[in-house]
């Protein structure tokens, strides 16, 4: 009998990301929101969001079908069905800025947070040392830089519509010593000055740690330096740009330092599952959690037309990795409430579902609370207070 993942939202999320879903013809993908038009965003039982591929070739063989039963939406496979909630396209994405740029060109919804790219640029592409698995859609020419006013306009719309309370800013990848923080500074300052929302920043590790202090002082509530691959040789082979311009050692140093500066559970690093042996990913999880860094594990899927041909792992191999992730994060006492509810990855908190553990009592209440809008506002307040207490301005010598 074929194994079904329907009854566990944690395993179902992983299998859906791996195998995709078939949509009924009458409710094509455009009816729902999918990350930048890719896939469809669905909220699984228990509230986990997932971005499920639906247009790619491989999804035709998926056992999962999204169907409508009256007012309800169901995902079914050959063994049964489960009720889900497809995510409607947020209204703000259909608007354009005062300068005529579609909001969708600037922002993408990823479950609980909204990714904003003020400039789509990757220096690794320009120097032809891009990551060989990259699916970021970069090319050799940097995209247009969106103005601070445009970004503020989009953020205002996001918050007004209540789509998210977390703005995730990414620098793209630049060659600067600051890892891109200098470029992001006016955006972070403008957002923090005008809105009471949380800001997460993804950047390259800067050459000097004072930029990490500065990132925190500017108002970043969470920080991501994505190592992507833990194995040293594979890192150099698959991420030549990161290896040459930053280096694995600097990634680790910067993550260790940042984990000491930022609140518990707010410094994270991606380790892509499927690009290295599962054992190596698990070692990476242990290494990162030892430093107080949250490992976030996106699943590798080959890019259509991409040169890298690594066969993706299947759910049976991947699921134990997420179980290990949850246990490692829990063992090190890392707060799981910050990095959660992201549609494109499975976070440690969802790993608990995979591990079959239930939370009750106070920690369960806290977890639920931080999943609410009020909880996120509280997180913002505490984060702001912490920053106020910790950051000291000093005269430069």
């Amino acid at each position: 009998m074929k194994k079904s993942y329907l009854n566990n939202p944690g395993t179902l999320k992983i299998d859906l990301m791996l195998r995709g879903i078939r949509l009924p013809r009458e409710d094509g993908p455009l009816a729902f929101y999918g990350r930048a038009g890719e896939g469809v965003d669905i909220v699984l039982p228990g509230g986990s969001p997932v971005n499920v591929p639906c247009g790619e070739e491989f999804t035709r063989d998926s056992p999962y079908v999204l169907k409508k039963a009256g007012e309800r939406w169901l995902i079914s496979d050959t063994t049964g069905e489960v009720e889900v909630r497809p995510v409607k396209m947020p209204e703000f994405l259909s608007r354009t800025t005062g300068e005529g740029t579609p909001y969708s060109e600037i922002a993408t919804v990823h479950g609980s947070y909204v990714l904003i790219l003020p400039k789509k640029e990757c220096v690794f592409f320009e120097k032809k040392v891009e990551c060989s698995y990259c699916a970021g859609g970069y090319d050799e020419r940097p995209g247009r830089t969106h103005t601070v006013d445009e970004v503020v306009e989009v953020v205002s719309a996001v918050l007004e519509e209540g789509v998210s309370e977390i703005i995730y800013l990414s620098t793209g990848f630049t060659e600067d010593d600051d890892g891109g923080i200098g470029f992001l500074t006016p955006y972070i300052e403008a957002i923090k000055k005008r809105f009471n929302c949380l800001v997460a920043v993804e950047a390259l590790p800067p050459k000097n740690n004072h930029w990490i202090d500065r990132t925190y002082a500017l108002g970043a509530d969470a920080l991501l330096y994505n190592l992507e691959i833990f194995d040293e040789e594979l890192f150099e082979a698959l991420c030549p740009g990161r290896a040459r311009f930053v280096g694995r050692k600097r990634y680790i140093e910067a993550l260790r330092y940042a984990a000491d500066i930022f609140p518990n559970g707010t410094v994270a690093s991606h380790l892509i599952v499927g690009l290295e042996p599962p054992g190596s990913t698990c070692m990476g999880i242990d290494f990162l959690t030892d430093m107080g860094v949250v490992p976030i594990l996106p699943i590798y899927r080959p890019r259509p037309g991409g040169a890298l041909r690594i066969e993706p792992l299947n759910a049976e191999v991947i699921i134990p990795i997420y179980r290990h992730l949850y246990r490692a994060v829990k063992k090190k006492g890392i707060n799981m409430n910050w990095m959660r509810d992201i549609s494109v990855v499975t976070t440690p908190i969802e790993g608990r579902l995979i591990a079959g553990e239930k939370t009750g009592g106070i920690s369960g209440l806290i977890e639920k609370f931080y999943g609410t809008r009020l909880g996120l506002k509280t997180a913002w307040g505490l984060s702001t207070l912490r920053r106020k207490l910790r950051v000291k301005e000093i005269e430069e010598d």
């Binding site: 004072h210 000093i394 005269e395 430069e396």
Partner: protein
């Protein structure tokens, strides 16, 4: 502006953050209590209020929780508010001669530094006389002392520091290890400190003391008399300082040839002496002579302000150049301190404090000088020397009502030791600058500084007891 992240526990930070508001609430409550409490016997209600304001300012000056100048402004606001003195009188006191003398001295010293004259004098003297390690050391020491007779000792330390630092580097001295480097930086600090007490110009604390003396008693001390009175202290301490330096540390180098290369390079880079340097030098000399000869008749501040006008008439400096040299905070601080001192005196509070604390047992004038000078020496190691004067002098002058001692002597007994801070980097900027070199440790400074402080107290009291009567200064026998 750079940032620093405080990594202590969040609970510790919260408690620390709460301390400041708690401190102010307690301070306000204590002040309110003092204002509302019944007036003690022998004290007027104004005197009681003056003591309340004084205690408040004392705590703020000592804790330095808000800038000294802001505490002074607070005192200015409180004195009329709690009916110690009428507001017209309070604001009139701010126009004290001492305040304008200090302002003029700051501007004149700023012009000397801006023109490059002081730097040139320093470089030339070191180059000419510093031919061996011992002579170079002595020339830095004496030069710092000499320049501090005419400019603020803080400014002299800041001006000489880069030169001494470069000399230490060029000689290949190792930070924290080289004993000669320790001697160089200690000589810089000590030279500034000792030279700084020689005239009114070494630091603005003596003019502040004079301002309080004049407002409270109508008495004053002229430029020459002051320098004559402290001259033996300066000479003995300079001699002892050099003796101590050469006993505590050894000269671990044989030649200073490389230092001369640095000095020569710097002198060459300055070019020929220019019109501005000549003219500023002439104005400085004329001003010092005028302070000495005309100061008593026309007023020290008048001479200062005339010199300042001359600088601008001759277009030797621009206002923009001077602004950065004028420490406006000190000027505000001094104005407030003079008002506070006057309020204590006129309300009878100063005498009441003195009589009810130290007046009972301090019956001998020599004992009063010994105790007040010791207090000033101890206080100045921990708090600003101007704050020492603002705190001790009004009480000290109050003491003169009960003990048969001239208020002028009390002014010397507090103003001179208040400038003799040798032990800690926080005592005076000259010490802090020397330690910041990293060639000298706090431990080195403290070890030698304690000996210097004790010696300076003994020397000062011996001078007071045996020398001052010879020049007709009070009577301590």
């Amino acid at each position: 502006m750079a940032v620093e992240i405080d990594r202590r526990s969040i609970w510790v930070l919260l408690v620390l953050k709460g301390l400041r508001p708690a401190f102010f609430v307690l301070l306000a409550a204590g002040f309110y209590y003092l204002i509302k409490m019944p007036t003690p016997e022998g004290l007027t209600p104004e005197g009681k209020n003056a003591i309340a304001v004084f205690i408040l300012c004392l705590i703020l000056w000592v804790s330095n929780i808000i800038p000294l100048a802001i505490t002074s402004l607070f005192a200015i606001a409180l004195v009329p508010l709690v009916d110690i003195l009428p507001k017209e009188e309070v604001y009139g006191l701010f126009g004290n001669e001492a305040v304008f003398f200090i302002l003029g001295a700051f501007i004149l010293a700023g012009a000397v530094m801006h023109s490059g004259l002081s730097n040139r004098i320093a470089l030339v003297i070191m180059d000419r006389f510093g031919s061996s390690p011992a002579r170079l050391l002595l020339s830095i020491y004496l030069l710092a002392a000499l320049l501090s007779c005419f400019m603020s000792e803080h400014a002299v330390a800041a001006m000489l520091f880069p030169i001494v630092f470069e000399i230490a580097k060029s000689l290949g001295l190792r930070p924290g290890r080289s004993t000669y480097a320790k001697m160089l930086f200690l000589s810089l600090a000590w030279g500034c400190v000792i030279g700084g007490i020689a005239t009114f110009l070494g630091g603005a604390r003596v003019p502040l003391a004079l301002g309080i003396l004049k407002e409270t008693t109508g008495r004053t001390i002229d430029f020459i008399s002051y320098s004559v009175g402290v001259f033996p202290v300066v000479v003995i301490m300079l001699l002892f300082g050099y003796f101590l330096l050469t006993r505590l540390f050894s000269m671990d180098i044989d030649s200073v040839e490389k230092a001369h290369e640095v000095l020569k390079r710097r002198i060459q880079s300055m070019g020929k002496i220019g019109y501005n340097e000549y003219m500023v030098g002439i104005i400085l000399v004329v001003t010092v002579v005028a302070w000495a000869t005309l100061g008593a008749r026309v007023g020290l501040a008048t001479v200062s302000l005339a010199a300042v006008v001359a600088l601008f008439v001759l277009r030797l400096v621009r206002w923009k150049d001077i602004e950065e040299y004028v420490n406006w905070g000190i000027i505000l601080m001094y104005g407030g301190a003079i008002i506070m001192g006057t309020a204590l005196e006129r309300s009878g509070a100063a005498m009441w404090i003195a009589q009810s604390t130290i007046g009972g047992w301090m019956v001998e004038p020599w004992l009063a000088v010994a105790v007040l000078s010791l207090l000033a020496l101890l206080f100045t190691e921990g708090i600003s020397n101007a704050a020492v004067i603002a705190i001790l002098l009004p009480v000290g002058i109050g003491l003169t009502g009960g003990v048969n001692i001239d208020p002028v002597l009390v002014t010397y007994a507090i103003a001179v030791p208040a400038g003799l801070a040798f032990t800690l980097p926080l005592s005076t900027p000259a010490n802090a600058i020397a330690v910041s070199s990293t060639y000298l440790t706090i431990r080195d400074m403290a070890k030698a500084g304690v000996i210097m402080s004790i010696t300076s107290w003994v020397v000062f009291n011996l001078v007071a007891r045996f020398y001052w009567p010879l020049i007709g200064l009070g009577g301590l026998r």
